[in-house]
């Protein structure tokens, strides 16, 4: 059976799995944003917390994904549904680039700008929301971009615990030793990653602070 035949015959299932994949990546990314960006802001204000926070995120990053899925299995509520579990794991992986880039973006704002802003009487929250975050936006977005591209790839492995997504086709193809089936899962995932990368890259450029032309 060739690739195109397989795709046309199974287009509904492929579309379904693609949506599942998008859902897992989307929700996990939103959760990671909600945790990672505040953590990045926190460690930029409390230097003492920087090392422990970054180290924890680093350690999570080094756990092999299959093992992490396994570790999380006994967790209450989360472990009951494979999708929940996959979303939690993907979120944990997305934390490091988000925390690190938020921190780097904020601390990378020009010292003179911060000094002038404090000196003219901006409160700490005005400094954060009017100066630091807008100027860090493109660096933070670069982190979001990395996180999403990693998530799209990692989410294929979630199929190993039955969470669905395009990984299901890849694992099925592997079991059947059928390249067409593998490709039917791998190609949409790759296209999704490329599309996300391009879109976020464009946004990143738009948000970067104006510089000399």
């Amino acid at each position: 059976m060739n690739f195109w035949n397989f795709v046309t015959q199974n287009r509904l299932e492929i579309a379904d799995l693609t949506l599942e994949h998008l859902w897992m990546v989307g929700i996990s990314t939103l959760l990671a944003l909600a945790v990672g960006i505040p953590l990045g802001i926190l460690i930029s204000r409390r230097p003492a917390l920087r090392k422990p926070v970054i180290a924890t995120a680093n350690i999570i990053q080094t756990i092999p994904s299959l093992a992490l899925f396994g570790f999380l299995l006994p967790a209450p509520w989360i472990g009951e549904r494979a999708t929940r579990l996959a979303i939690l794991a993907l979120m944990l992986y997305a934390l490091l680039p988000l925390i690190r880039n938020t921190y780097a973006g904020i601390t990378g704002v020009d010292r003179g700008v911060i000094l002038a802003a404090r000196g003219m009487g901006l409160t700490e929250s005005q400094l954060l929301f009017r100066v630091q975050l807008p100027l860090a936006a493109s660096v933070i977005l670069a982190g979001v971009r990395i996180a999403i591209v990693i998530s799209i790839g990692l989410a294929t492995i979630a199929a190993a615990i039955g969470a669905g997504g395009l990984g299901e086709l890849i694992f099925r193809g592997l079991a059947m030793v059928n390249n067409s089936v593998i490709l039917a899962g791998a190609i949409p995932a790759a296209l999704m990653a490329l599309a996300a990368d391009t879109l976020l890259g464009w946004l990143e450029k738009r948000l970067s602070p104006p510089r000399a032309a």
């Binding site: 020009d110 010292r111 003179g112 700008v113 911060i114 000094l115 002038a116 802003a117 404090r118 000196g119 003219m120 009487g121 901006l122 409160t123 005005q126 009017r130 100066v131 807008p134 100027l135 602070p209 104006p210 510089r211 000399a212 032309a213």
Partner: protein
């Protein structure tokens, strides 16, 4: 004019350092500084790098916390001021300028006014007035900082420091990074503006030329201590060894005085 200023006798110093000490990671940056800055004068803090002049400046608007002694602004210890009110009461201009790169000139200059909830039209009019007074064409108000020359950026920085009409200005080598011609343009502009507005200015520089040109009085700092204090004329005729060294090092000062 604020109520605090009205309560104060007009001959009282506007800024006062009393036995001010400041330590940073074990190093004594200021060792018992006593200094009074009077209403309407330009007091220049002169000294080499590390002499403590920038530190002294930052103690006034509480960008740094003093270790011992007290700094008074309009007769009140700076620690008694609400820090945000204190800073909005004092204009601050620095060598790096620190314009917000993501804001137009108009938003840069008008930021504090918009935080103080001025209506939009009033802010716009005030920005135009300020740009005019620092010698900038009102057209620049819609530009971004990266579209300006170094001299224009520094003029915008001064306009921003003046935005809320603060009675006090702190200036930390504001013209230090400019080429000599632009610098002398800005010094002249600053001097005439200061005479018109009558601001009380604490001005940090390591450039004797600039100190003599702008200063009502010059305070020479060395290793965190006040070495000499007096008018430019007194400074030039001083018999204090360190001052004489300074004057010698800047052999061409007479020319500077001629310009003034």
């Amino acid at each position: 004019m604020t109520t605090a200023a009205q309560n104060q006798n007009s001959t009282d110093p506007l800024i006062e350092f009393r036995n001010v000490e400041y330590q940073s990671s074990g190093r004594e940056v200021l060792r018992g500084l006593n200094l009074a800055i009077h209403r309407g004068e330009v007091l220049v803090l002169l000294g080499r790098s590390g002499s403590g002049k920038t530190t002294a400046l930052k103690l006034v608007n509480r960008l740094l916390k003093l270790s011992r002694g007290e700094v008074r602004v309009e007769g009140r210890d700076v620690r008694e001021w609400n820090v945000i009110q204190l800073r909005r009461h004092i204009g601050y201009a620095i060598q790096e300028v620190g314009l917000f790169p993501h804001y137009t000139v108009e938003r840069n200059v008008g930021l504090v006014l918009s935080l103080e909830r001025w209506p939009k039209e009033k802010i716009r009019a005030r920005v135009q007035e300020l740009l005019h007074s620092v010698g900038l064409n009102p057209d620049v108000s819609s530009r971004y900082p990266h579209q300006l020359s170094g001299g224009q950026r520094q003029r915008v920085g001064v306009a921003r420091a003046l935005a809320a009409d603060p009675p006090i200005l702190l200036m930390d080598e504001p013209f230090g990074a400019l080429d000599p011609l632009t610098r002398s343009d800005l010094q002249l502009g600053f001097l005439s503006l200061q005479r018109k507005l009558g601001k009380t200015v604490l001005f940090v520089t390591h450039d004797l030329h600039e100190a003599l040109f702008l200063g009502t009085r010059i305070a020479l700092l060395e290793e965190g201590r006040l070495v000499s204090l007096g008018s430019p004329e007194e400074f030039l005729n001083s018999s204090e060894p360190l001052v004489m060294k300074y004057v010698e090092a800047f052999g061409s000062v007479e020319r500077a005085r001629g310009n003034k």
